[in-house]
Subunit: 240 residues, 2 copies
């Protein structure tokens, strides 16, 4: 079975967490909105799909897996993790990885709110003053708190621990890689200052990047670069 | 087995979504931080617990279920839903209810951000101007978009549908009840204006409220009222 991923074509966004899991699992998928218009590609076709598919999702990404139509990033990953060995099989491990993914999702939402603190419907330029205030708190309070937390989880695993859930890599580790690279893109100065105290987090991101399927994916044109329409945006004035 | 719920003692907050599931399922639980100091009650003891428990959660609520220590609201509900018949048993239904819960969680986070758009570490009084702007967009764009979505899901279920996942009530329905009551508390004017177009959502909330265990719970002193330290806060200037 070939998966269908439905997500905005121009940004890595939340779709990227799903892509990383599909790529690491070696699964075939159509990134539908990025394909030709004749095959349902483009933003207009995506909007129509989101409105017409049954049951309707609130927002993308959406994964179509045979008869299943699955929305919400962490929910899609819960499904893919169980199906493709990217999460522990036991209840405790499965819940723990879901918990880590939801904590990462909170950080992702906060990273987006930095440049859109008033409303996602307004341009960044129309909320720059609030964004600058928000960014200061994010860089000095929230980013350190979140990254210190993941560093602590990895430290507790000791030498044997490969990732957030122990020896076997999970979809939460793949997501942590994307979050680290996103924060490095958006807040290079802040990340440079934090780097000495999050050595394990950075090493995990590097290890994910070296996985053969991930390395091949990152070199391919399937990978979308970070940019100023996505979640992680580099506005130098927000990273002093 | 008696569950332990660990959450801030003074607010309904995200802990309330867990309480509603435990109460509807008729499960015994200790709401630990609300208990006497001798039994680990109080905010200081909660902070110490969150720091010491293994594995550490990023934030409360935390549910202790025997040897399991589970964090993140939607993750706790995924666990309780499967264990106590508050979610479908099949994969498709289970994923759908999790998806609905995560969409509700996004709405809850947005409702909190209305009064804290700059930083959760600042007082509301220090971000009132940004909050007023944020509230206008929330009331006129985000609240309608979210509530229209849930209305549409319920409408698609037709006459037979009792809730977001069909005939059998799920933990997502209990959470929708809490969100509706919270929005009515925080934004009574905005909710009054929206009410004609979300009749099914309001009727579902009323039906949840009439369930015998929920009705008994709401009359008990275990239920914490909405207040201005929680997620849903009534600031009249944010609801014109």
């Amino acid at each position: 079975m070939r998966y269908e991923l439905h997500y905005w074509p121009g940004i890595p966004g939340r779709g990227e967490f799903v892509r990383l899991a599909l790529e690491d699992a070696g699964q075939d998928y159509d990134d539908v909105a990025r394909g030709p218009a004749a095959a349902g590609g483009g933003e207009g076709a995506l909007a129509a799909f989101l409105n017409d598919v049954d049951p309707p999702p609130f927002a993308p990404p959406v994964l179509v897996a045979g008869a299943l139509v699955i929305g919400q990033t962490a929910n899609i990953l819960l499904f893919l993790g169980a199906r493709h060995g990217l999460a522990p099989k036991d209840e405790q491990g499965r819940l723990w990885v879901n918990q880590q993914q939801l904590t990462l999702a909170d950080l992702v939402a906060e990273a987006h709110a930095v440049h859109h603190p008033i409303a996602s419907s307004l341009y960044y330029e129309d909320q720059k003053l609030a964004a600058a205030q928000c960014a200061r708190h994010f860089r000095t309070e929230r980013m350190p708190k979140h990254l210190d937390y993941f560093e602590r989880i990895l430290a507790a695993a000791g030498e044997s621990g490969a990732g957030l859930a122990g020896e076997a890599l999970t979809y939460a580790d793949l997501s942590l890689f994307q979050v680290v690279r996103g924060l490095e893109y958006a807040f290079p100065n802040a990340m440079r200052r934090l780097s000495p105290r999050i050595a394990r987090v950075l090493e995990l991101a590097a290890r994910v990047e070296r996985r053969p399927r991930i390395a091949a994916y990152l070199r391919s044109n399937r990978r979308i670069s970070f940019n100023e329409q996505g979640i992680f945006r580099h506005y130098p004035e927000l990273d002093d």
